[in-house]
């Protein structure tokens, strides 16, 4: 028999862990007794009241099938399909994120190329960077007066820092030799920026963008729990209020899957701009 490749072994092991994990989870949840089987004593003490327990994976699977087979239904403000909720979240993340990129990358270039700009802006960056993005929320709500825009602002403010710092770092670290190549070829400042510095710093910049999108996706869930209305974060909190834990678990898994997809998208981008010296 041919030996299995490393990847196949790993895939088999993953599936095994998943199946065993689900089985243990399923088995560890005590089944609810039917009302007819209760003794008189149990009925009197309320033992027959269905206790809210963590739902077993089988129920989550049923829920997932139900939700994913019709992801875009819209039955009023509190009953929308998972696809719509995720769509709202992605829209907010991408809007805030792209705005952040539009600010952070040019500014990062400036900081990376000029040590005066770096020294002047560094104190601001160091103070603003460690602020939890949600701490901006009250101020954003007050100033912007719009919950939707406030959520986007929070995404903007949390994703700007890794991109800004990585761009500045990448641009400042471009090898002197490559800049000299541009100089001896009489390239103008814009041509140098686009044909030499940008490709040279691209791997570092994209790494910053990848960190940012990860943070943005973490933050949107929390932000939506606060602002409410729509989005996957709101959905989780809404289902918690409904005590529908099956939906909560299902949406947690969806958050993970979407986050993974966003990350792998940037992983792909990272591979295309990578180079070896």
């Amino acid at each position: 028999m041919k030996a299995l490749s490393e990847n196949r072994k790993a895939a088999l092991l993953s599936i095994l862990i998943l199946v065993v994990g689900c089985l243990i989870w399923e088995a560890s949840i005590p089944a609810q007794k039917a009302v007819g089987e209760l003794t008189e004593y149990e009925l009197l003490t309320g033992g027959g009241q269905p206790k809210a327990g963590v739902p077993p994976p089988s129920q989550v699977l049923v829920k997932a099938w139900e939700q994913l087979s019709n992801p875009f239904y819209d039955a009023g403000p509190n009953d929308k399909g998972i696809g719509i909720q995720i769509g709202y979240s992605i829209y907010r993340v991408l809007t805030g994120y792209l705005l952040a990129a539009a600010v952070a990358i040019p500014l990062g270039f400036l900081i990376g190329m000029s040590s005066v700009a770096y020294k002047a802006l560094n104190p601001f960056i160091q103070v603003l960077r460690p602020i939890s993005p949600l701490a901006w929320m009250p101020l954003a709500l007050f100033v912007i007066q719009d919950s939707e825009m406030s959520a986007i602002f929070v995404i903007f403010i949390c994703s700007i820092w890794p991109m800004l710092i990585n761009t500045a770092f990448g641009v400042a670290g471009v090898r002197e030799d490559w800049v000299n190549v541009a100089r001896t070829h009489e390239l103008g400042p814009f041509k140098t920026a686009f044909t030499v510095i940008l490709p040279a710093a691209a791997p570092t910049i994209v790494t910053g963008m990848r960190i940012s999108i990860g943070i943005a996706w973490l933050v949107i869930v929390a932000a939506e729990m606060l602002v409410g209305g729509t989005g996957i974060g709101y959905y989780v909190w809404n289902e918690w209020n409904n005590l529908d834990l099956t939906s909560v678990i299902f949406s947690i898994l969806m958050i993970g899957v979407v986050g993974m997809l966003l990350d792998s998208l940037f992983g792909l981008l990272q591979r295309t701009v990578a180079y070896t010296e």
Partner: protein, 302 residues
């Protein structure tokens, strides 16, 4: 006397020494290079060879002194002066061909894309890079191949002056030999004026028309200009048989081994043109036993 094509006049470079004083790397360096000449500069580390090269390239500014090319004052980098750096300085995200077209399209912006590619491919072929290899990234090429690409990039730009900063310093001896041959081949095809830094005496004798010798730093000076009186085409294996070879080599070795140190540290008197040294033993030999072929040739011509 007509000014040479490239003239370096009273070049001085000082740096602050970190203790409030100044450190003079070299002082009053003056020399000229004629069009089409291949000049090597030899000297110990720290004598400021690379600084001179950077000044010629326009990447650094001298403390005082001027560089004139074609009568024009040199300041700032220019496409007229191509540079081959020791560490190749290829852009690693571009293929070998794109690294060359990058330079060519900067040099000749009016050219069509096809013409740029054709010109670049031709120069890569001159240094022995053809076929699949030109579409590889520098990381997929050996050190020798990378330096070939770098040389092709510089020659393809057809600069008025080509500066080579220890181009073979990082290569093994065998690769170095083949690329030296390729360099000579490209050079003799193009009539390029070349100024090259090297540490290798044999390399300098093989390649150069003239070798400039620098004394040790600090306060280094260009002390001598040694003419290489060995006719071209030269060949790495037969050049050693030429009667002038060891005479010149011994002179160079002696200079670098002893005199560069003896002469160093002497403050410049302002007139420090290098002393021209010409070692030619062939004249003496020929006068003793004249070549019999010469008269016959004359008769045919007449």
């Amino acid at each position: 006397m007509a000014k040479p094509f490239l003239s370096i006049e009273q070049l001085t470079q000082r740096y602050p020494d970190g203790q409030g004083g100044e450190f003079t790397v070299f002082e009053n360096a003056s020399f000229g290079i004629e069009k089409g000449e291949f000049v090597c500069i030899l000297g110990h580390s720290g004598c400021g060879k690379s600084t001179i090269m950077n000044i010629l390239a326009g990447l650094a500014e001298p403390t005082s002194g001027v560089v004139k090319m074609d009568g024009q004052h040199v300041s700032g980098p220019s496409l007229d002066r191509g540079v081959v750096f020791q560490n190749y300085s290829l852009l690693p995200w571009l293929t070998a061909l794109k690294n060359v077209t990058f330079g060519v399209s900067a040099r000749f912006p009016a050219w069509s894309k096809e013409k740029v590619i054709e010109h670049s491919t031709a120069f890569l072929a001159k240094v022995g890079l053809t076929g699949d290899a030109i579409h590889r990234k520098p990381s997929q090429l050996s050190g020798g191949m990378r330096q070939r690409v770098s040389i092709a990039r510089a020659f393809a730009n057809e600069p008025k002056l080509l500066l080579l900063d220890e181009p073979f310093g990082a290569l093994d001896a065998l690769t170095r030999g083949t690329i030296q041959d390729e360099l000579i081949k490209v050079w003799s095809d193009t009539d390029q004026t070349v100024f090259m830094i090297t540490h290798d005496i044999d390399e300098a004798i093989l390649l150069a028309d003239r070798i400039l010798l620098m004394t040790n730093g600090p306060m280094a000076q260009v002390a001598e200009s040694v003419e290489i009186t060995i006719p071209r085409p030269r060949n790495r294996t037969t050049i050693v048989e030429h009667p002038n070879y060891y005479a010149i080599r011994n002179h160079l070795v002696h200079f670098l081994g002893q005199r560069s140190e003896d002469l160093s540290g002497q403050p410049g008197d302002g007139v420090s043109r290098p002393e021209t040294v010409r070692i030619d033993l062939t004249d003496a030999q020929e006068s003793e036993e004249p070549e019999p072929a010469a008269p016959i040739l004359r008769a045919v011509e007449g």
